[in-house]
Structure formats: C-alpha cells, structure tokens
C-alpha cells in the first residue's frame, strides 16, 4: 500500500525540484523588493506593492494564463529568452518553477518585509557611524537580524510552491515526468478509476514534506532567535 510506484516517485522528485528552484529563484528578488517596500519611499511604491501581491488575489488560472502569454515561446518575454539565451519555459519543469515562484512571491516578500520593519533602525545608524556603508550595513546588520523572518518566508514560499496547482497547470500543463507535480498527479489520479490508493499515497507524501519543512523552519528560527537573545 505504501510503496510508491516509479511514476509517483517521479512526481515527488519533480515537485521537490520545482519548489526548491522556485524558492531559491524568488529569494534574491524577494529580499530586494521587501527591502524597498520596508525602507524606501519612492514614486510608484503603492503600485509595486500591489503588483507583488497580485498573484495572491488573482485567480491562479489568470496568473498562469498571463505567464503563458508573456513567457510562452511566442510571448514577448519568452521569445527573447528563447532566441538569445536558449531558455524555454513553456511545458518544461522550469516553467512550473517560474509559475510556482510567482505565486509564492507575495508570501515570501511579506514575511521578509515584516522582519525588516521590525529591526531597530538605530542599530543600522550605529553601524554607519562605525564605518559601514549602505551595503555593509545591510549585509552585517539588517540581513542577519531579519534572518528568522527570511527563514519563515522561505518555508512559506516552499510550501506554497509545492502545493501550487492552478497557475502551473495553465502555464505548463500536466505532463508526467516534465511538469506533473504531486498536486497535478493527485488531481489526475482522482479523475481515473481505481486511482484512490495512489492518490492517498501522494497525499501522505505531501503531508510529510510540508510537516518536515515546518519543523525545519521552526528549528532554524529558534536557533536564530537564541543567537540574538543571550547565550
């Protein structure tokens, strides 16, 4: 009953790979946007804020369709990436990672932004009087102090990416071995006769992965917290 078939393993491995790529890919722009929103005032800030949060409120199918229009092989961005860099998103696992990254981005930004906003700006002032320029202040004070929030954001992002369904299936379809994630595989299994046992096995796997991510983040956050408050 609990033995996964090779096809199911493929879906599990693919899901983890897609979610990991989505999370790591979203992290640098996520930190940058979170910092901009937390620490800078500029023209169009409300617009950027809205844009970042859009995938959270749009129907996932809409986000997936927009990705298809822009990042498909014939789309304005997709064509350039294909012609000049040989990067193709449509119907590849990379496209699934892009869709998951976009969908999870608001959660990542939100968590990191909150932790930036919670940092005592006076510590950053102190660092600059000690000779640290803006970049060093960020790297040695702001970012380390925001670490628990960054970790929380990473876990949220990973979990969201792992469970993403609508945008992914719209953008890159549901191809076994290419773009079929755990969620897509479960969906397929529920549509065929006698798929229940396999679907349940994948459900269990999804629960285990999500729990493991939560426990890991809790552990990291506690360690980071200890570092700052004594010991």
């Amino acid at each position: 009953m609990f033995e996964l078939t090779p096809e199911e393993w493929t879906a599990v491995r693919l899901s983890i790979r897609i979610a990991t790529a989505a999370t790591l890919g979203a992290l640098p722009p996520g930190i940058a946007v979170a910092w901009l929103l937390a620490r800078r005032n500029f023209w169009g800030k409300a617009l950027l804020d809205g844009l970042v949060h859009l995938p959270l409120v749009l129907p996932p199918v809409v986000t997936g369709y927009l990705l298809l229009i822009w990042f498909g092989r014939k789309g304005p961005v997709g064509a350039i990436l294909d012609n000049y860099f040989g990067i193709v998103f449509s119907f590849r696992w990379t496209g699934a990672a892009l869709a998951c990254g976009v969908m999870a981005f608001p959660l990542l930004v939100r968590a990191i932004r909150l932790s930036f906003e919670a940092i005592d700006g006076r510590l950053e002032d102190a660092a600059s009087t000690l000779g640290a320029n803006g970049l060093w202040v960020f790297l040695t004070v702001t970012l380390p102090l925001a670490l628990p929030g960054v970790i929380a954001g990473l876990v949220l992002c990973f979990a969201k990416a792992l469970g993403e369904f609508g945008a992914t299936i719209t953008f890159v379809s549901n191809i076994p071995g290419q773009t079929q994630t755990i969620s897509a595989a479960i969906y397929t299994l529920t549509q065929v006769p006698n798929g229940d046992a396999a679907a349940l096995r994948l459900v269990l796997v999804a629960i285990v992965i999500a729990l493991a991510a939560l426990i890991a983040s809790e552990w990291f956050a506690r360690r980071a917290g200890l570092r700052y408050h004594g010991d």
Binding site: L123, T129, A132, R227, Y228
Partner: protein, 232 residues
C-alpha cells in the same frame, strides 16, 4: 588647545522645534549641557552625519563635513566619528568581541592586537568577550560601547548621555572608566549630558544648550553651584 578641533554652526527645523546652534570645541572634553529636549541629541546626530542640518557648516580638524553653501555632506560612514549612544546600541547578533572589532573591520584597518588589548584592559571587559550583548548588565554594555567606539580609531568621540540609562550605583561604577578614557585615549570628546555632576567629573569646557540655542560657552564655572551638588 589653540585651533578648534570641531566647529559647528547649524540650523534645523524639527517639527515645531527650531534648532540653531553654534559652538567650537578644542581638544579634551567639551560638554554639551542642557535640559532634556533642548536639542543636544539632534546636534550629536548632525555631527555624526545621521541627521542633515537645513543650513550651516560642520568642520572637524579643518575638514568640512557638512556645508549647505558648498553642498558638502560627508556620509556618516566616512566621517570616522565614534558615537556612544545612550542605549549602547550593541549589535545583538554579534559577540562582544565581534562588536568591538566591527568598526576596525568596516574601516578596513589592519588588526591591532596591542591596541585592542589596551582598550579591553582600560575598560575591564576582557571577561565578557565571548558573551552576547543580551547577557550583559547595563554598565557592562556601556563599557563595551565605549570600547567599540574607541577601537574604530575615531578622530572625535561623541558620548550622548552615555550614563543616562544607568542607576546611580552603576553610574558611579562607570565614571572612573570614563575618566581613564579621557586621560589615556587621547581622542577629543563631546560629552552630552543634562547632569552637571557628571560633567564636572569629565569635561573641561562647557557649552550650555537651551531651547535649541547655544546659550553660553566657557569653563566649568557655567554650571551653577546648585546644579553641581544635585547628583553626586
């Protein structure tokens, strides 16, 4: 003495409060003395480069740090002015040793073992090096903050009410270290306080700040006798 080390002539509007302060400081310790809310901390922040004046000029050792006419504003990280804040502001994620070393690393200065040992001994903080700031007492924290500011090899040291967050017993415990700092560090200092008793022990020059203005400057005689007896 002789030439001025620090020349300040600044104006700044902060909400309804307007600040217009002009004074010069020579070597040694100059106290900025005045009641809470008189604008002393804002002056310190302007000298350190954390707050830009609306108008005026700040010069240190003949170098212009800020000049609204010439549009000069040297950023804080290039001023090499050490600051000890009222609340210490140690980095909570770094050990005491790393806090002490922070300024030197950020300035790109070579490591100077002898100097750090001297400062650590001067402030008697050798036994704290491996701890995090969260586990220090208020007095220990301020001593580490002195050390951190000193080890960046500042051209000027700004001490902004460094004892204000401590109770009387801790103040008395720290004061001797401050006196040693003054006598052995050889760095000109600006000492901000509203407590005449502290200033008498530390400073040689006094600038009295009242209501956003430098009301008077001169020697310790500026602190009237009544105020002197209040604290210690």
């Amino acid at each position: 003495m002789g030439t001025d080390v620090l020349a300040v002539d600044v104006e700044k509007k902060l909400g309804a409060f307007s600040l217009a302060v002009k004074f010069e400081a020579h070597g040694g310790v100059t106290a900025l003395f005045g009641p809470s809310g008189s604008g002393k901390t804002s002056v310190v922040h302007m000298i350190a480069g954390l707050l830009a004046p609306d108008r005026g000029r700040i010069a240190l050792d003949e170098e212009t740090l800020f000049d609204s006419a010439g549009r000069t504003n040297v950023p804080a990280h290039r001023r090499r002015i050490g600051v000890v804040f009222q609340e210490g502001r140690l980095f909570p994620h770094l050990s005491v040793a790393r806090n002490l070393d922070y300024g030197r690393r950020m300035q790109g200065l070579p490591s100077d073992e002898a100097e750090s040992r001297r400062v650590i001994e001067l402030l008697d903080i050798g036994h704290l090096l491996r701890r995090r700031p969260g586990r220090l007492s208020g007095g220990e924290r301020q001593r580490v903050a002195f050390g951190r500011a000193l080890l960046m090899k500042p051209r000027l040291l700004l001490l902004d009410e460094p004892l204000a967050s401590l109770d009387r017993r801790r103040k008395l415990e720290i004061l001797p270290y401050l006196v040693r700092l003054r006598d052995e560090a050889g760095v000109p200092m600006i000492y901000v306080s509203h407590q005449a008793g502290e200033i008498v022990k530390i400073a040689s020059q006094v600038v009295r700040i009242e209501d956003g203005r430098a009301a008077a400057s001169g020697g310790l005689e500026l602190l009237d006798a009544e105020r002197r007896e209040m604290i210690f």
